[in-house]
């Protein structure tokens, strides 16, 4: 690397040395330019105009050209350029439209040489002829370019850009008479300096202003342009028509572009707004910058390579009032940090995954696909020595196969299509969805729905039988998502286990909360009573004995019934039963077939007026009375949702979220919800379930999601007569002034849904056509075609 900074230059014969460094200027810089000796740099801005000497360790201010007491607008520079043949000659473009030349050889303090006040508006750019000593070119906002001979007082010739502002002018390095100019309307023009009447060539290079251009130092006819449309384009001018040979997409509008010396495909850019970094791109690799300089804190306004034959030193001036020298070896290289990885699904659900070998090898326990195919990802096609990032990057490719049959996602599609998410009372929705899930053999899900129904709505309608049914089969269902890849060696029961742990935790906290008598109650009961904010002794102290007894009775009746409830499920491990059966069902069952309950219900009624808050007892009664505190179970339900989401079943999570709506929404943070929604919508769209996905979007309450429906809602149609796109309205063609879509039935313009026969292409309002075809099988247009509506 040391070699890099000791490049012997072709011109001076001396080596350039230096380090990455910066110095503070007094004011923001607008432009910089380097002297041909590569040892001095001039910085110009609205209120700064100085020459700095570039020394090994630092910049040293050499000369302040801004002299005089009263700052003149002539010194407010938009651009500055140092003559590449004459070390004493500088030119500046002032914001008030004046072009000034400076002669450093003048003995006086004021080095100002000549003043050209021919432009009416701000001069954006000045440029010296690369070989001719006295020729200066300027481009201005007023749409004119002027060529000055410094030996004369006026311009030699004026080139008109047809009233469009000129943003940049550059003499071609190779062709003596040619210069390029770029314009605010996106055009680039090529001029012959001898022919001011018309340009040689003009083409539209960018959408919006072209801020800058730069001729390639070696490749004749290569011109790089940068525009407000965030693109850098490289044009080949040698052909008959200017041909775009490369295009680099940056993240902000491009303010300056400069080819890197000695590197054929490299160019440096900086941006006009927002982005403060300087990038060096390899134009053949337009997505990742080859190097990046991040020193500046505000937008970079001027960049210059220090020496025309040295690729390692870049100078830059910025609005943050600093002048920087960047060394290429100190640049950060985004390529280094990027970990190229590829992931792709095959037609039958196989998954191929390629990554850098070094990355893959660190991960153990994964068996790459038979044969361990390896091949390089990068630049297999050609090896170019000019490229810094060649080198065989080898990667590992792994392919994971699906187990036959396990990849079927039909349950997902079925569920998505059949679930009801809104438009009916909660209880019905839950029942419906439970039924759907059950029919698809997803009993755990079905059970969850049933429980939700019990939790959140009055249980009167639930039939005990259906409950038993769902509970009975509850834990028999596998977790349908678990068996996807053998790569994921997740135990099917993993989710349940975590769940179990958690519910154990619950129990613990519950027992702390409640007094000893509650230990009699099952886990489920604990959870139910958890929310009570009145301690148990309140009851014991204040309430009459009867109710006290009632309280005791509660665990009692739960106790004898417990075995009754559990017994039919002997076939299943008890653990699972606990896990999979959060609160509701048991009590519901109580209500349905236990005589105790009716009694206690009556008591509850008498109790209700006594206290408005929830005592332990009234809480357990509240289950029957739908007087549940709204957020009573929410913590649990939220956990349940997270559980499903973690398992990969976002469908369940989102469906429940939508169905329950306000009841749980506030307990789950916005971002998680958004995440679920987006994943679910993404999945739905992959299965082409557009309607469902739209419904989900519509029902979502998250702002980020619901605005999805406001995006790209445009539908483009072509006129049926002239086949041109109908840009303004969908029913009247601008070109042929005809209404494109007439209803064959009512002969009016169709502005909404238009349905047409694919056989005869007649059609009309959906309603009309439907009605028509009910009565007749012929086309309403009278064409004789037998239309079918399906």
């Amino acid at each position: 690397m040391e070699k890099m900074s000791r490049v012997t230059t072709a011109l001076g014969g001396s080596a350039l040395t230096g380090r990455t460094m910066h110095c503070h200027l007094d004011a923001p810089a607008n432009a910089i330019s380097v002297c041909r000796d590569a040892a001095q740099v001039v910085v110009a801005g609205r209120s700064i105009f100085k020459i700095y000497a570039i020394e090994d360790e630092q910049f040293v201010e050499k000369l302040n050209l801004r002299v005089g007491r009263k700052p003149s607008l002539n010194l407010s520079c938009a651009d500055v350029v140092w003559h590449q043949m004459d070390e004493n000659l500088l030119a500046t473009a002032a914001t008030n439209g004046v072009v000034v030349t400076w002669n450093l050889g003048r003995p006086s303090r004021n080095k100002q040489d000549q003043l050209f006040t021919e432009h009416k508006r701000t001069v954006n750019k000045v440029c010296f002829h690369p070989t001719e000593a006295h020729v200066l070119l300027s481009g201005s906002q007023d749409g004119f370019m002027k060529c000055f001979d410094l030996r004369r007082k006026d311009s030699v010739s004026t080139f008109s850009g047809q009233s469009e502002s000129v943003r940049d002018v550059q003499f071609s390095i190779r062709d003596y008479f040619t210069f390029a100019s770029t314009f605010e309307n996106g055009n680039v023009q090529l001029w012959d300096i001898r022919r001011p009447d018309r340009c040689e060539r003009m083409f539209t290079a960018h959408n919006g202003p072209v801020f800058c251009c730069d001729w390639h130092p070696e490749d004749r006819g290569w011109l790089a342009t940068g525009g407000r449309d965030k693109m850098v384009k490289v044009w080949d001018m040698t052909t008959h028509r200017a041909k775009e040979v490369h295009c680099v997409q940056t993240i902000a509008s491009v303010a300056r572009v400069k080819w890197r010396p000695e590197c054929r495909h490299h160019l440096a850019t900086c941006s006009m707004m927002v982005d403060h970094n300087i990038y060096v791109w390899d134009v053949r690799r337009p997505f990742v910058p080859a190097a990046m300089f991040e020193e500046h804190r505000d937008v970079t306004t001027g960049i210059a390579w220090r020496h025309p034959h040295d690729p390692s030193f870049l100078l830059s001036g910025s609005k943050d009032s600093t002048l920087c020298q960047h060394l290429f070896r100190d640049a950060s290289q985004p390529v280094e940090r990027a970990n190229p990885e590829g992931l792709c699904y095959g037609l039958f659900g196989d998954l191929a995954f390629a990554a850098k070998e070094s990355l893959v090898s660190t991960e153990s326990g994964r068996k790459p696909y038979a044969g361990d195919r390896r091949h390089p990802i990068f630049f297999k096609r050609k090896l170019d020595p000019a490229e810094p990032f060649v080198g065989l990057a080898s990667s590992a490719l792994s392919v994971f196969e699906m187990e036959p049959g396990s990849g079927s996602m039909s349950w997902f599609v079925d569920t998505a299509e059949r679930y009801a998410l809104a438009g009916r009372p909660l209880a019905e929705l839950c029942d419906h969805n439970a039924k759907v899930a059950r029919e698809l053999g997803r009993n755990q899900v079905a059970q969850t729905w049933t429980m939700l129904r019990v939790i959140y709505s009055s249980p009167g309608l639930a039939s005990a039988a259906s409950l038993n049914h769902s509970v009975g089969k509850g834990s028999s269902c596998g977790l349908p998502l678990m068996n996807s890849f053998n790569l994921k060696d997740m135990a099917p029961g993993l989710g349940s286990e975590t769940r179990l742990d958690r519910s154990k935790g619950d129990t613990r906290s519950d027992t702390v909360l409640l007094d000893s008598s509650t230990t009699l109650i099952t886990n489920e009961d604990n959870e139910e009573t958890e929310g009570s904010d009145v301690p148990a002794d309140y009851l014991l102290g204040d309430v009459e004995g009867e109710e006290d007894e009632l309280y005791l009775l509660d665990p009692e009746h739960a106790h004898p019934e417990e075995p009754e409830y559990v017994l039919p499920q002997e076939a299943f491990p008890l653990r699972h039963e606990i896990v999979d059966t959060p609160p509701g069902p048991e009590h519901l069952q109580d209500k349905a077939d236990s005589p105790h309950v009716s009694g206690s219900e009556a008591d509850a009624a008498s109790l209700a007026p006594v206290d408005s808050s929830f005592s332990l007892i009234s809480v357990s009664h509240a289950l029957y009375d739908t007087r549940l505190p709204p957020d009573f179970f929410s913590a649990l339900v939220c956990d349940m949702l997270r559980f499903y989401a973690e398992q990969g079943d976002v469908q369940m999570a989102v469906s429940v979220l939508i169905v329950l709506g306000e009841r749980v929404r506030k307990d789950i943070d916005e971002q998680t919800q958004e995440h679920w929604y987006t994943s679910y919508i993404d999945l739905l769209q992959r299965f082409c379930l557009w309607n469902v996905s739209n419904q989900v979007v519509k029902l979502s309450t998250s702002r980020a999601i619901s605005c999805l429906n406001q995006a790209s809602t445009t539908l483009h149609v072509n006129c049926s007569h002239c086949k041109r796109p109908m840009s303004s309205r969908g029913w009247v063609c601008d070109r042929c002034h005809r209404c494109a879509s007439m209803c064959a039935v009512c002969h009016h313009v169709v502005k909404g849904l238009f349905v047409w026969c694919q056989g005869c292409s007649h059609g009309g309002h959906l309603q009309h056509i439907m009605k028509w075809l009910e009565g007749s099988s012929h086309c309403p247009a009278g064409c004789g075609h037998l239309c079918e509506y399906s």
Partner: protein, 499 residues
């Protein structure tokens, strides 16, 4: 309505005038519903607009396509004198109200209401109250700012500054809004809001400047509903102006030979174009010229009111000075700090706010990039609109044809920016002085800074030989220049916040 111009301070002046107008209106409530002038504008004879209209099918196409209300409102009718412009105007307006954007539809209309309320432009308020409700806005919000979410309320400060003294907007204001918290604005949302605010401030200028009449569509019976349902005063410029007309027309305008006036103007323009080369003012002089223009704009309104309205019926007004609060409440519920108004940029001698150097933050380079980045595509639409209005010309002046009006248009545009403290290095502000006569300056200043005070008298008093369509053109220029100035200040603050 500057007849109260004798009052010392600008703020008082402002209050008084608002007040007066409201009082006047109250007294003549009955006549309000039956204004004397018909047609879309109180300033422009109906036939001028209508004639132009019937010719133009294009306008109808445009309206059908881009109008949010689905009918040809008065603004559109007046603007349709310049169809080319109308298209880009409607497109950008439609985009910011109806198309993809970070803000929900009702919010957009509410922001429009807030913006229009700063200038008490009941025409726009009424229009957007309807739209607001139509797009599903919460009716309660219409009761005033106290009823809207804090988030929207927070916009009030920036609304106020943008409307009257945009140069005061700093990155701190932006930071306050985007600071993470419950009511924070995301940057795209903020940019959307800023664009809306600037648009509607500027549009209010146009409405007042062109004397747009309240909508009086019989089917929609907007005018009727305004009074009964929304309880707004109708913006009855027409009415006011008619009174004035009756009493004052031709009163104290020494009928200058306006034809020679026009000739003189054209002569000056011609001379400016030719003289360019030999005339070479020193930099100091250029600077002073800008300062002078800036300073002079300070006296334009107050001074002129005094001069040109010597017969002002102050007696009528001063008696009603007291009870402004009750009357303004209709509109003022959408604003806070109603006393906050335009203050001349040049006035604060001591603080001396730095002049905005146009070249350091231009719309083309900087504003566009930022706006387009945060609120995609609006940049292109606005860009097109600014370009359109800046380059719009028919090469005519009054009865003369083949005139290059570039200098005149530029003078108008830059004069507006000058009043907002934006200076172009490459512009000689001496031109403004030569090209814009005093009555025009009064008009410009009123329309851009205190649009609610515009009167037909002001409208009539300048360029008497010119066609109405040309005056509408002037209004368009003023409107866009103002919008751009506001945007530049706001976007510069956002840029500073970002860096």
């Amino acid at each position: 309505m500057n007849r109260g111009g004798s009052s010392p301070s600008a703020a008082a002046n402002y209050l008084l005038c608002t007040n007066c107008r409201k009082v006047l209106r109250k007294d003549k409530r009955i006549r309000v519903s039956q204004p004397l002038t018909r047609g879309p504008s109180a300033f422009i004879p109906e036939k001028e607009v209508v004639q132009a209209n019937t010719v133009d099918e294009r306008t109808n196409f445009l309206v059908e396509e881009y109008s949010t209300s689905g009918r040809l409102d008065n603004i559109t009718q007046v603007m349709s004198l310049h169809t080319q412009y109308l298209e880009s105007f409607l497109r950008s307006q439609f985009y910011m109200l109806r198309m993809d954007g970070p803000l929900p539809l009702p919010h957009r209309h509410y922001i429009a209401i807030m913006a229009a309320a700063r200038h008490q432009c009941s025409y726009l308020i009424n229009m957007h109250v309807d739209e607001f409700l139509k797009t599903g806005g919460i009716a309660e919000w219409l009761n005033g700012l106290e009823y809207v979410p804090q988030r929207l309320k927070n916009l009030n400060e920036i609304n106020k500054l943008l409307a009257h003294r945009p140069w005061l907007i700093t990155k701190e204001h932006i930071q306050k809004l985007v600071k993470t918290g419950e009511n924070n604005w995301s940057l795209p949302e903020l940019v959307h809001a800023v664009v809306l605010l600037a648009h509607y401030h500027a549009l209010a200028s146009f409405v007042f400047g062109s004397g747009i009449n309240p909508e009086r569509d019989p089917e929609i019976s907007n005018g009727f509903r305004l009074i009964s349902v929304n309880n707004f005063c109708v913006c009855d410029l027409a009415n006011d102006n008619n009174i004035e007309n009756a009493s004052l027309t031709g009163n104290n305008f020494g009928i200058v030979d306006s034809l020679s006036e026009l000739e003189a103007l054209m002569d000056r323009m011609k001379r400016l174009r030719e003289e360019r080369e030999d005339e070479e003012a020193s930099q100091e002089e250029m600077t002073t010229r800008f300062e002078k223009e800036k300073k002079e704009s300070l006296f334009v309104v107050s001074g002129d009111t005094f001069h040109s309205f010597p017969h002002s019926d102050c007696s009528l007004l001063s008696s009603d000075f007291e009870d402004d609060m009750i009357i303004t409440s209709d509109v003022s519920r959408y604003i806070e700090d109603p006393g906050f108004g335009y203050e001349d940029f040049a006035r604060r001698g001591e603080e001396h706010l730095p002049t905005f150097r146009a070249q350091d933050y231009t719309w083309e380079n900087h504003g566009f990039s930022l706006v387009n980045r945060l609120y995609s595509d609006i940049g292109h639409l606005l860009d097109e609109k600014f370009r359109m209005v800046y380059n719009l010309t028919y090469n005519t002046m009054a009865s003369h044809e083949d005139v290059d009006t570039t200098t005149l248009r530029r003078a108008l545009f830059n004069y507006v920016h000058c009043m907002f403290g934006i200076r172009y290095d490459d512009y000689d502000y001496g031109e403004v002085n030569q090209l814009l006569e005093r009555s025009l300056k009064v008009y410009i200043k009123t329309v851009t800074c205190y649009p609610e005070r515009t009167t037909k008298r002001m409208y009539d008093s300048y360029w008497r030989q010119f066609k109405h369509s040309e005056k509408v053109h002037v209004n368009l220029l003023l409107m866009e220049a103002r919008m751009q100035a506001e945007l530049l200040y706001a976007l510069r603050a956002i840029t500073r916040h970002l860096t």
